[in-house]
Structure formats: structure tokens, C-alpha cells
Symmetry: C2
């Protein structure tokens, strides 16, 4: 049985895509078969793994509009055991096109069913908003992982996100659990990072994962080369942090 | 006559709100009367100036739904000559509620007309997406200022944004000009910052403003105290960079 994790936070630029790419790659390195689903019209997870979105004939847009079978859209990457269900620009129109359509919030859940036997983990990257695309991801997911940048504005948005998760759990996906909160771009030299970290642990306790992702330029450099950090600079603090995040999630799930 | 500038970029976390707050405050310090309009349901520009969004009875949501007069929603701040048209959580519903409504993309332009005599500058903060709220901002604006984080993903989204601006100019707002591109979170020690900066100047030439905003922790610290950087730590590199950005825009507009 596979586990589907949505990476969500409506605050922009907090490290959702960086987490989706590097967690997926780390789980694959640790032997898991992983499908990364890009539900953001910006298609950063798609291009961050070196896939040229202009050359794709089918994307997740065609899948949720039921214009193509999910298997037709999946592409493999140069990383063993890591596949991608890529995004494209068309996705920006999906929300308006699905108005009034039936099962509009569970299109992705239905589309991902064929992969529950072929993949151990399905990781979904979300756009920076609580729109229909994110609702589709939260309805398809077993759990949600929240990247939290150690900054003031990021903290502010958390209560809004928690409210939305409660709504989704009550109305669309009763099985939705919280995978946890992962602190990102943590800068040991910066007082604000420590303050936000401490405050988040005070408010959310055990929900805050032990692994913190440090601010590390190799993580953004790797993206510009279309590779996860592990495959760009394995000894970097960023690559190592995501491997330990993968280990932590595997051991948390093993106990369930 | 006032000038309306929209601060837009669908990429998340690139410094839109930080630019909106600090440019507005710097223009006010330089003697201009400024109205900052918060079109993001996250309401970061509202809380970043110390306004408690839960205590507001009227927000920009009521104004664009024509439930309240614009003057009723405006609040003054502790900074002379700086007023805010605040956001609230309700704004997240505006897009769906305005489906099928008439003049849905020009609600904000009509609402801001009363302020063209009372304010010299109107600065509009946009959410991280090219949705109806951003379209309202681009339709109300005389020009658009694009904050560009010196990172790979931020460059990727630029062509999409430029395409949208051309569409808005052709169909909704023929007078829309480009105020320019401002490089944000520029880190002199980081090769990627220099590469993205050089590439952007190569592609967009004179459109890239001379003032670069450095990565500076005082900018995010100031936000957690509900103040612009100028009023939190005037000698900081962040505060000084936004004052010089205000100077640069004033001199560019003076020659027009
Ligand atoms: N730990 C880190 N250290 C340094 N840079 C990082 C780190 N994590 C992410 N970044 C960089 O910060 C920027 C924002 O990250 P990313 O794009 O992953 O965020 P996001 O939440 O997916 O953004 P959006 O809201 O636009 O989808 C990117 O340029 C990325 O390369
Ligand atoms: N020059 C800078 N130096 C250091 N930190 C910065 C700088 N500019 C912005 N920040 C911080 O980076 C984070 C993102 O900035 P900000 O929220 O202004 O971006 P945004 O584009 O408005 O995000 P969103 O897409 O969510 O609206 C904030 O926590 C902010 O305090
Ligand atoms: Mg992203
Ligand atoms: Mg913002």
C-alpha cells in the first residue's frame, strides 16, 4: 500500500517545491518507489527535475480534466525509482473549467488510484494558495506535510492553513492526517529563526519534525541544474537534511 | 494626479509585500501622500503595518463587492502620509463570488478613483497568483513593479508574468506601463544572485532598476514589529535600499 503526502502551505516561497523534489529523491535513494505529482501551474517541481514542460504532450491538467489516462502523463527521471506526473501552464485554467463539474475536488484522488500498487510514496507539490488545485491535493492525500519558513509572515498564515485542513477533513477527506511541520531555511545565526522555531514547537509540539532544513545555497543551485541536491552535491547540508527528513518520516510511518 | 503602481509576481515569497510596505513608507517619508492597498487574502501588508485584521469591520473585500464605500475601509497608520486599504480573510472568496458579475476585473479601478486627488501614490500588493485579485490590481494600475528574487525559479516565472501583462494591456488596461523590475534578496556572497542579476539585465536592459534590495534580516524583523524597516532600524541596509528605490522611481516619473 502506498502513502500519499501533500506538501502544502498557501504562503509563498516557503520551500514547498524544494521539499517536494528533495524528499521524493531522498525516499527514492532509500529504496522507495516514488511518484512526484506537480499540482502548481508554475511547474517548478517539473522543471526542477530537468523536465522541459514545453515538450510535454500530456500533463496533470489533461488527467484531472479526464482528457487523458494518468499513466499517459507519467514521465520517468534520471533518478532510479523516481517518476513525475508533470504540470503545465494549462493547469492555471483548470479551476475555472471545473466550475460546476462533478467530483471537482476529487479528480486527483481518482486519477492517482492506479499508482497505489506501483509506487510506495506519492508526493504532491501544491501552489501558493488554498484553491481547487490544493483542495484536490488535500483530498487525494493520506497526510499533509507543512513546510514552514522561519519568518514572521509564515507563522501568520499557519492558523488559516490549519482551519482549511479541518474543513477538508470534515467535508472531503475524513482520513486526512497531519504528517507534520518541517522548519525550512533555518539560519542558525539569525535570532528570528530561533524565535519562530521555538514558538512553533510551543504551539504544535510533536507535530514539528525533528529534522530542520538549514538555509543552504546548494538547494537553490541544484534546482538550476535540474537535479535534486543529493544528485548535485551529496555532502551539502541541504542534501543531508532532506535524507534525514526522509529517514524520520519512514520511521514515523513504520510505527503506525 | 496620482500614480497607481501594482507590485506583482505570481512566484511566491519574492518580496512583494516587503516591497509594497517599504516603498510606501519611503515615499511617505519623502513627502508623498500614499495609499497602500492590500489585495492578498493573506493580509501580510495589513499586519506588517501593525493593523489587526480581526478588528476591522470593513476591508477591500467589501469595497470590491460594492458592499461598502472605499472611504469607509481606509485606515491611517502611525506613519504620517501613509494610509492603508486593508485586506481580510473574506477576500479569498471574492473570486468565486464575482463569477458572472459585471465589471469583475475593474472593480478595484472604480473603487480607487476617489483617492486620485487625496493621494500622490497608490501602491497595490498582490497575492502569489495571476487570479482575479491580481487582474483587478493590474487593471487599476498605471504601471507594474516586478520584484524578482535572485533565484532560478523566480526567473522561470518571468516569461509567464510578461505574457499576462501583455494580455491585460490589450484587453483590460491599454495604459498599463512597466514601472520596472527590482532585484530582491540580493546576496553579494552568492554566485547565483550575480548570475540571475546579470541574466535579467541582459534580457530586460533598462527595465531593471538600478537599486538592488540586499538580503537583510532587519527587513523581516521589522515586519514582526508591525513597522516598515525605516521606522524600525533606519540605518539598516534594507531600509536604505528602499529609500533609494523610492528616489529612483520619483526621478524616473519626474522625467515622464
Ligand atoms: N533551505 C533552503 N535554503 C536556501 N534556499 C532555499 C531553501 N529552500 C528553498 N530555497 C530557495 O528559495 C526559493 C523558494 O523556495 P520554493 O520555490 O521551493 O518555495 P515554494 O513554497 O515552492 O514557492 P511557491 O510558493 O512559489 O510555490 C527557491 O528559489 C528555492 O531555491
Ligand atoms: N531583502 C530581504 N531580505 C531578507 N528577508 C526578506 C527580504 N525581502 C523579504 N524578506 C522576507 O522573505 C519572506 C518573503 O517575503 P514577502 O512575504 O515580502 O514575499 P511575497 O512575495 O510578498 O510573498 P507571497 O508570495 O506569499 O505574497 C518574508 O518573510 C520577508 O520578511
Ligand atoms: Mg513551489
Ligand atoms: Mg505577499
Amino acid at each position: 500500500m502506498s502513502r500519499t503526502i501533500a506538501i502544502a502551505n498557501q504562503k509563498g516561497g516557503v520551500g514547498k517545491t524544494t521539499t517536494a523534489i528533495n524528499l521524493s529523491a531522498s525516499l527514492a535513494v532509500l529504496g522507495k518507489r516514488v511518484l512526484l505529482v506537480d499540482m502548481d501551474p508554475q511547474a517548478n517541481a517539473t522543471s526542477g527535475l530537468g523536465i522541459e514542460k514545453e515538450r510535454l504532450s500530456v500533463s496533470v491538467y489533461d488527467v484531472i480534466l479526464e482528457l487523458a489516462h494518468p499513466e499517459q502523463a507519467v514521465v520517468s527521471t534520471s533518478i532510479p525509482r523516481l517518476d513525475v506526473l508533470p504540470s503545465s501552464r494549462d493547469l492555471v485554467g483548470a479551476e475555472v473549467e471545473l466550475i460546476g463539474a462533478d467530483r471537482r475536488a476529487s479528480r486527483l484522488r481518482i486519477a492517482l488510484q492506479p499508482f497505489s500498487r506501483s509506487h510506495d510514496y506519492i508526493i504532491i507539490d501544491c501552489p501558493p494558495s488554498l484553491n481547487l488545485l490544493t483542495l484536490n491535493a488535500l483530498t487525494a492525500a493520506d497526510s499533509v506535510l507543512i513546510p514552514l519558513q522561519c519568518e514572521y509572515f509564515a507563522m501568520e498564515g499557519l492558523s488559516e492553513l490549519v482551519r482549511t485542513l479541518q474543513l477538508v477533513k470534515r467535508r472531503l477527506n475524513p482520513g486526512l492526517q497531519r504528517e507534520g511541520i518541517v522548519l525550512t531555511m533555518f539560519d542558525r545565526r539569525n535570532r528570528l529563526s530561533h524565535q519562530v522555531g521555538a514558538e512553533t514547537r510551543r504551539l504544535f509540539g510533536n507535530l514539528v519534525l525533528k529534522t530542520q532544513i538549514p538555509r543552504n545555497v546548494r538547494l537553490s543551485e541544484a534546482t538550476s541544474f535540474g537535479k535534486p541536491a543529493f544528485h548535485y552535491c551529496v555532502r551539502s547540508a541541504g542534501a543531508q537534511a532532506y535524507v534525514s527528513l526522509a529517514h524520520e518520516l519512514l520511521s514515523r510511518n513504520a510505527n503506525k
